[in-house]
Amino acid sequence: MPPLKERFPLPVLRSASPPAWRSLESRRRQEAPGPEEEFPPGASRPPEGLSRRALLELAAFGAAASTAGCFRQPPEKVMPYSRQPPEVTPGVPLHYATGLTLEGHVRGLVVRSHEGRPTKVEGNVAHPESLGAAGLQEQASLVGLYDPHRAKLVRHRGQPSSREALFARLLQLAARKDAGEGLRLLVDPTGSPLWAHTWGRILERFPRAKVVPFCAADTGASLEGARIAYGRPLTTLPRFDTARAVLSLDDDFLSTLPGSLRAAREFSASRALPDMSRLWVVESHLSVTGAFGDHRLRARPTRVPHVARHIGAEVGRRLKRSDLATLADGAMSTTESERRWIAAVAADLVARKDQALVVVGARQPAAVHALAHLLNDALGGHVAKVAPTLTPAPDPGALPALVEELRGGGVDTLLITAWNPVYRAPADVPLALAMGRVEDSVYCTLHEDETSIACTWSVPSTHAYEHWEDGRASDGTATILQPLIAPWLEEVVAPLEVAAAFSGALAETSYQRLRALWREHDGGGGRAWEGWLAEGVIPGTRLPEVAARVDAPAVLAAVRALPPASDSGLEVQFILDARVQDGRFGANPWLQELPDPITKLTWDNAALVSPATAARLGLARGARVRLAARDGAVEAPVLVLPGQADDTVTLPLGYGRASGGPVAEDVGFDANELRFQDAPWVLPGVSLTLLEGHHDFALTQEHWRMEERPLALQTSRETFEAHARTLLEGLQAPREHLYPPVPHPVTPPHRWGMAIDLNRCTGCSACVAACQAENSIPSVGKEQVRKGREMHWLRIDRYFLGDEDDPGVITQPVMCVHCEYAPCEYVCPVAATVHSDEGLNQMVYNRCIGTRYCSNNCPYKVRRFNYLDYTGKNPLARMLRNPDVSVRSRGVMEKCTYCVQRIEAARIRARVELREIRPGDVDTACAQTCPTRAITFGDLDARDSAVARLHGDPRHYALLNHLGTRPRTVHLLRLKNPSEALS
């Protein structure tokens, strides 16, 4: 017999894709191998603050307590309803359609409720902005509902007050006779008809009052761009499924709110062979969309608009549009490689004609938005346009004007329903200071934060799942947002109630106001209402498309008027954090602990710089720097990120909170300190000084690695088409195995399996949050993450490919692959992990004694160990848990179960109805929420099984196939569609 090494050679395919690496540090180690720690430092140390002795004592107590529990079950009470609602059967969950307003627009959701307790959020299939998917923030929204640190008391000047006192004062203020001269409302723009109606009523009663929009994320550039191009502000609704050449100018359309779920679904559909789309991205930092792109041009933030101008000119030249082509005159100079890139993208767009699409990100100036309208029009593609839905219209100048008014002393009542404006205000807008001059500033908030301190009345607000509201998707489709639970805090007030005190509608509840508002639309005397609630959408509310003609000369004039690019010095660019957004989700521990899709950073933000810039300035990971410009400065730790544009520092917003609860506070730095009202996104001419000290990040990119073998694979479309049959042969054919074949039942009931299509995975991480919610996975905190003890069953590995400065990126979700020959099972001394007849690698928690042998022997590194009791004894944390899943205690191993609780529930349902489980009866939490449907789960033996088809796809491969483990989860090769012009 030949030696093992020859019988089980390491997989080939190195040539199919460039070598992958997880971080700069690991890449440099690859080049110069040296001794390397397998685990992060401190992985084996006991928790801090607890001596070894105390730990042993606790362990002994635990042992005594557990044996006591073994002998006799302690007595327990059963609390039935006194009056049971007719629709409730204890133990049988109900589902309600509702939604969550993000950036002013609603995403439709379906929430699972156990006896009136919401436990899981899913997307609503009927809703145009969800299509059945849900993103990170939605999946983690229930943590916010049950947050123990929510604001609980009405406070007046910091002292506890009461609701009665608040409303007495509000009514006093509403009885004013100055026609609203001194009344101002500071609000987040929203599409909600009820809010618009309420504000309308207030302005009717007080004609001189003002409703001021606060906009941190949407600074109104896109509407202004449409105004330049079409003469009036319009919202565009690009369709990605019909586009075959997409140019994104700094638009992270796969992950920014709103609309990303729909865009990701449509775009991933366009990536299928044979007519695969091509994505071109121009951007300054590495975004999810850029990572997914076929061609990516790194450009300094101030250069991006000028690259767009060059592309416009080149497209014009090829289309023989002389007006467009003249844009090249007097444009910024470009390098040779930039010229080639611009020529290639223009050629591709022109070749695809009406199947070409140009999209622009919210950070870009209005002229670039206008140029995109002109280009789309010139190329012949149809981009739907609707009237904008947000009220009041975003206006970056509104806040400084308000602050001027406040300082002038003319305002006596300021009603704030916008989220934390004091924290989010630009550095040169002294909002907190100005608020000191207002006699009554009333702030509705979920947490007592920076603004609560600055205002006179801090009002604890109801959570979105605790009150009635409505809202619109970006295409106008309206949804009634029904509450899922009665407010669990006594003092909380719905923000609409506070506004109602001024609109004079306090006699009615918000439910009655909502019914009254929608009565007109509800022709049948209120009968349609129940249907709207059940469906989660109101039919016939989609906005009609608007026909508009592009005013080309105006657009060209605007583009020519763009300020010149800065060619020297550092530029700072601000981005919204992928997890906490502008900071409003900062108090959410799930989102804090979720690794950023690209940086893999948890519990932090960082100043992102490119490797070349870091080398030039002598920076390394964790170095502390001071960034200063004008009279603002910020101190931040550095993270060197490949793919970043040179001489560009990217600062994610949303961190560095001084107040707002123990989860949000003291995490990261506050980039707003460097943000000015005239430069909300890009700030050139920034000086950088290196400071003393080192910052220790909690980065997960090097945790759970599988020893740098080629795992996440991609190749070009051409290579794949030429060698479809042979390319992955070595990773598909079952290998010999040392162990005897597993006795297979004669008639296996089902053969569960999964397929993960890397060609669809954008790395957005919604699946990670969905898994966490469905399986009651705790978050462990920064200290534990640093030791490699994060508990996420599903991780998304992010690999860089090739060049350090401008790498390719591939993301790969990895959870338990349910090996048919599972290495973990062979080493467990107590048979706590065993195989089921349906191919599930079962984990039996109550048998586990915590040897961790299984985890050591798992080649995929997907098992997670409860080093400490992470579940928490907080009764609110228990509200969040899925009652169909065991609570794991300390010392127990856990891992992905293929959502076995859902399989068993479907089996019971099917068997009670005397039928088989049908396709579609079971879906795992990750597959259900995936915006791009990258994850497919099902029975491999079922007829017309989608997962079986994918298991037979020529693109499929088994992870670490050479080990002979025969995983039930296969991955599908990612295809890139590079342009010939640039090869």
Partner: protein, 215 residues
């Protein structure tokens, strides 16, 4: 005569055997004890906050199990009925009885009656009533003759071994689904033959995989 008296060896061996045997025996005794009625708390009537008598309701009045425990047919939990269910009758009959004072109090103050649990499974076990009831397992098979109990008591140990016994060979325990709630039903002639027929008709195929109950 040697240094030690004869028999020293035996004493020593006996002592060693005892030393080794006592812990083993201790463990065996503990394990047996845990499985005994004392350990599993079987055959111990459980006191309740309301003197509710199944003998009267189920036995004398002939109220079916499903009238109050309808959840057993629909989901995982058989459930304890809401107070409103009690009041359905007791608003009319015995509506002034001092024994029912806690029930009225619960109803009018909208606070649940804190019943004491009789059948309790560990938190890592997921039992589902509906599937058992729909596959012809009678209430009486696990809960005993509740219609003869003044205070309900556990009659089955509810240990994993006991569950598996039936899951491995359910046939003798099956009955026609319309007889599930019947406390007095006996198989006509041959329990096995009846069970076999039920099994075929209802596709009874109990599973013994870990994940069936542990998730």
């Amino acid at each position: 005569m040697g240094l030690f008296p004869p028999g020293t060896d035996e004493v020593l061996r006996g002592g060693l055997a005892l030393l080794a045997g006592v812990p083993v025996l201790g463990v065996v005794v503990l394990m047996l004890l845990a499985r005994s009625p004392l350990g599993t708390a079987t055959f111990e009537p459980v006191e309740q906050p309301v003197q509710f008598d199944h003998r009267h309701h189920s036995g004398d009045e002939g109220i079916g199990c499903r009238y109050c425990h309808e959840g057993a047919w629909e989901g995982a939990y058989a459930g304890v009925p809401p107070t409103s269910r009690c009041m359905g009758c007791h608003a009319q009959v015995w509506n002034e009885s001092p024994r029912l004072a806690p029930v009225r109090e619960s109803y009018f103050q909208d606070r649940p009656i804190p019943w004491n649990r009789v059948h309790r499974l560990p938190h890592f076990v997921f039992f589902n009533h509906a599937i058992h009831v729909h596959k012809g397992v009678g209430c009486v098979s696990c809960h005993g003759r509740v219609d003869q109990m003044a205070l309900v008591e556990k009659v089955a140990p509810l240990t994993m071994g006991w569950c598996l016994e039936c899951h491995r060979d359910p046939t003798p325990h099956l009955r026609p689904p319309e007889r599930v709630a019947d406390m007095t039903w006996r198989p006509p002639v041959d329990a096995l033959e009846t069970g076999r027929r039920v099994r075929q008709a209802l596709h009874v195929a109990p599973r013994t995989e870990c994940n069936t109950c542990h998730r």
